[in-house]
């Protein structure tokens, strides 16, 4: 039951995406909407991911089991976000895509975030964790770089509506600053 709820929660944006793709849910600018859903989903799941140690040390509720799937979902939505841009928005027209990347800082930052996410995904399995032992934790500190690039990526594409960005920055700052009691 718990797992059923958990996976449905993480899948919710996918249900939205499918509803839009199959024309069940009408939006005026579907590609923009899909980019926005997947982007926000990735950031919100990142925030939840960082919340888990706090929940453990403050409330003694152990949710560490959920960290790996949430991390993978962060990657899934980041990947879909990028794929929608490449496949739907630009139809894999590489010359145009490269031209756009060259011109637009927000695209470069977004790609950097995705690239730094890759080693984390590759080493997310038990085997890699054992193999890397002490290095694993250090490697996974890259997530902080991913967060910074993601927020900058978002900042550089906003026209006027900074409300969500400000909310995200405040939440990340709280998660960074508030000490995890008993944390080593």
């Amino acid at each position: 039951m718990k797992l059923f709820l958990f996976y449905n929660f993480c899948n919710a944006p996918i249900y939205f995406i499918l509803a839009i793709l199959f024309g069940i849910y009408y939006v005026t600018n579907p590609i923009d909407y899909l980019l926005s859903i997947t982007g926000h989903a990735a950031i919100i799941l990142l925030i939840i991911l960082l919340l888990i140690p706090h929940i453990f040390f403050r409330l003694q509720i152990n949710l560490f089991f959920y960290r790996r799937p949430i991390g993978l979902y962060v990657f899934l939505y980041s990947f879909l976000h990028t794929l929608i841009f490449f496949a739907l928005d630009y139809q894999f027209a590489w010359p145009s895509i490269l031209h756009e990347i060259k011109l637009h800082l927000y695209l470069q930052l977004g790609l950097l975030a995705l690239i730094f996410l890759l080693p984390l995904v590759i080493t997310s399995n038990d085997y890699a964790k054992k193999l890397l032992s002490d290095w694993w934790g250090k490697l996974h500190k890259l997530i902080y770089l991913v967060i910074i690039f993601t927020l900058l990526h978002y900042y550089f594409l906003i026209k006027l509506d900074f409300n969500f960005l400000i909310m995200y920055i405040v939440l990340f700052l709280i998660l960074f600053i508030v000490p995890k009691k008993n944390a080593q």
Binding site: L21, T28, N29, P30, L88, S96, L103
Partner: protein, 309 residues
Amino acid sequence: MANKKILASEITAEKIYYDRRNFLKKIGFASAAIGFSPLLSFANMSQAKKIPHDIKDSLTSFKDVTSYNNFYEFGLQKSSPKAHAHKMKIDPWSVDISGHIETNKTYALEDLVKLASLEERVYRLRCVEGWSMVIPWIGFSLSVLLKKLALTSRAKYIIFETLFRPDEMEGQKSRVLDWPYLEALRIDEAMHPLTLLCFGVYGKVLPNQNGAPVRLIIPWKYGFKSIKSIVKIKFVESMPKTTWALSNPNEYGFYANVNPNVDHPRWTQATERRIGDSILAKRRKTEFLNGYAEEVGYLYSGLDLKKNF
């Protein structure tokens, strides 16, 4: 009772009947009946003369045109204007005209709309955010109004101002932009016959979220130049500061001509997504001056458009 006589005088004469029909038509009976702005019911939008055009693309749906809007006076989401614009009172409405003209003038909306017969013109609209629409606007050339005003030789630019009424326009309560919204044109741009003083869309008076009751449409410039809900017009001598240029001078210039060769840091200007196209459709190439180069290109000859963006 059974055979109550009908007096000859009770029967409506045919001529009077037709006069009455014409009168009802004239006052835009249809638009009044379906509850649009009573002020503009006198202008029968559906009777506007259809001006021929060579746009082969299909029109963007009325639903998309009236529900996907940037009108930050009503909020920051595309859906905000439709949700909140009904609070804006547009009756009564007048436009104050001042600056370098012989005498200042105030036009009541009902007089303004009668300056010329209404035309339906299908224009492409290109938003700076990289999406576009094709819309049947109703109005007449702004030049009709300008020719009625005695401009002095110092009138080089024309400034337009949107209604400022935070109680009715809740987006104005937050200072995301420097209200009231200002836009401006060079006089020759304003005089160009393509520049439309617009009162309606899709055979109806403008819905509030589209800039009721009177707005500008300048089809070769990015959408934000086409200012909505105009209350003031002023003629000035030097190039004025406009809202977006003030807000972010590196990104928004005075001219804001649609130009695929001048990029914007946030959005590509080389291509655009046409609203209503399939999710699998390709982006379309953005045309120089939004495809109106033949008509308006001469206005910018000798001007470095990379610098004067």
